[in-house]
């Protein structure tokens, strides 16, 4: 993989022509059937999900989808889920558990949507539920950080057995812009901020926070390698006794 600075990774993660979550879903699965709504009040378009076949294995996919243009970005609030989005994700993940199918979570978000309505609807609580219940799910659960992995809004979908990152992706406690403006009251120092945050796949792999870096796929690329890889990962996890699966997952987080 090419050597890049942390800030180049940030730019790569935010690139407009990055493969989207929806494209990944359609490239990885067949017979995909999209499911909507949190069964309480709304259907958040930033959070998409459904059921499909990965090499003939039924899986549940949940993912965060950014928009391709301004209109779509407004509809999907720039890939920042609302509480309704997180509740929809959790609903689908619990459903996966019921039907004993593994979960694939695709993350590409600057963070949970920061607006007044989301606060009123319990953004904190919604993310908290994804984390605490996500960690207990009795099925294999793999997450891929596709582009941006922004803070708690990303962690909500990354509490499973394996966390993988695309080459051009970042996973960060806050945005480099936010870090720079708090640290130095100077949001232009993003490059230094990106370095200090240690948000690149390379540094997170070294830190033991992620399990593996995945080759970057572009829109239109053949995804069969990735499909086979995920299939093999799910098989490995499915071969573990249930108690061992949950224990391994908990141990992973206990070590941080």
């Amino acid at each position: 993989m090419v050597n890049k600075t942390a800030y180049q990774r940030v730019q790569g993660a935010r690139r407009k022509d990055k493969i989207s979550t929806a494209e990944l879903i359609h490239g990885l699965t067949t017979d995909f059937f999209e499911l909507h709504g949190d069964r309480l009040e709304a259907d958040d378009h930033a959070l998409i999900g459904g059921v499909g076949l990965l090499n003939n294995r039924p899986i549940t996919v949940v993912g965060i989808q950014k928009g391709a243009d301004t209109d779509e970005n407004i509809d999907r609030h720039f890939g920042s889920p609302t509480p309704q989005g997180y509740r929809k994700a959790l609903r689908l993940m619990k459903q996966a558990e019921k039907f004993h199918r593994p979960i694939l979570a695709l993350v590409n978000t600057p963070g949970a949507w920061p607006d007044v309505e989301s606060e009123y609807h319990g953004q904190g609580s919604a993310v908290a539920q994804c984390i605490i219940q996500g960690m207990q799910l009795k099925v294999p659960y793999i997450s891929i950080i596709v582009g941006e992995g922004g803070s708690g809004g990303a962690l909500a979908l990354a509490c499973g057995d394996r966390v993988l990152m695309f080459e051009d992706s970042i996973y960060s406690v806050l945005s480099p812009e936010g870090y720079a403006s708090i640290m130095w009251k100077d949001s232009s120092k993003v490059q230094q901020a990106a370095e200090e945050l240690g948000l690149t796949p390379e540094s997170l792999l070294k830190d033991g926070i992620i399990n593996q870096i995945i080759h970057e796929y572009k829109p239109g690329d053949d995804l069969s390698d990735l499909r086979d890889f995920l299939d093999q990962q799910f098989t490995e996890l499915e071969n573990l006794p249930m108690s061992e699966l949950i224990e391994q997952r908990q141990r992973r987080f206990r070590n941080y």
Binding site: P114, V116, G122, D207
Partner: protein, 280 residues
């Protein structure tokens, strides 16, 4: 006789006298803006007018809330791998101000002879931020409580994740949540008391995981900060959008409890959950 010699000072005179009082003696409530003498804050450090609980040191809170308390893990602190000078300076200052080695005080307390595992975040320890050692202490507290069959009371006050520790800070949300889940699966009670301010990653994890969630009056409780909302989506939030009262109205808080009633309330809740009285 005495009365006639004592003349009530004029309003202007009183204002003049107020102005002459040094700042640390005169306090202003950040919520209702009432001004009063520090001594009127009382033992509980609350606003005499609106009941707002001022931010207090964890060590003070433990004294005013529990009959007995034994601290655990008091030497757990920020790992050596964080060597940044500025961060180290902040840590040193926080330790001095609070008398704690991390942003949370943990231990076993008692309330009316009922034992309880206690966690109290300290808003003066780098804003009560969630560092790796903070998460470690809270995790160990839940693990201990699960082993000893004890309920947990957690007082939260935090600016959220600790950015100096990068993603390790974020991972604490998951680590603590896992310990909370195990405690819960053992049928044990977890009470959260949301104190001013509870925000960010703490709100998005163990602060919202309680079986019972209480809050102090007017405490700020939220996920995204006001400035983040203003700068990211150019929306101006209403004044009280993250007050405990607003959050309760939206269904995320069971009750708002004045600090002076906290001890009584917690005692009552613990009594209501004693296992001897449980069905089955």
């Amino acid at each position: 006789m005495l009365q006639s010699r004592f003349k009530m000072p004029s309003h202007d005179e009183l204002v003049k006298r107020m102005d002459a009082i040094p700042d640390h003696v005169l306090r202003e409530c950040p919520i209702c803006h009432a001004k009063f003498l520090s001594m009127r804050l009382g033992r509980d450090h609350t606003c005499p007018k609106c009941g707002y609980g001022f931010r207090i040191l964890a060590k003070r809170r433990v004294k005013i809330t529990f009959d007995k308390f034994t601290e655990i893990d008091q030497n757990v602190t920020v790992p050596d791998r964080y060597t940044d000078e500025k961060y180290r300076a902040k840590i040193a200052k926080a330790k001095k101000v609070t008398g704690l080695n991390e942003s949370v005080l943990t231990g076993i307390g008692s309330l009316n002879k009922q034992q309880v595992a206690v966690g109290i975040m300290d808003p003066f320890w780098i804003m009560g931020s969630l560092g790796s050692a903070t998460g470690e202490k809270i995790t160990r507290l839940f693990e201990l409580a699960t082993r000893k069959d004890l309920p947990v009371v957690m007082f939260t006050s935090s600016g959220g994740a600790r950015m100096q520790e990068g993603l390790h800070s974020l991972m604490q949300m998951a680590k603590v949540s896992s310990a909370v889940a195990e405690h819960s699966a053992a049928g044990l009670l977890y009470i959260v008391v949301l104190c001013d301010p509870t925000t960010g990653g703490v709100t998005a994890s163990f602060a919202m995981d309680g079986d019972i969630i209480l809050a102090e009056p007017h405490a700020l409780v939220g996920f995204a900060g006001r400035r983040v909302i203003e700068q990211t989506i150019m929306q101006t939030p209403p004044k009280d959008f993250q007050s405990a009262e607003t959050v309760m109205k939206h269904g995320f808080i069971d009750q708002i409890v004045k600090r002076s009633d906290m001890k009584k309330t917690l005692t009552q809740l613990l009594r209501l959950h004693t296992k001897e009285n449980a069905y089955g």
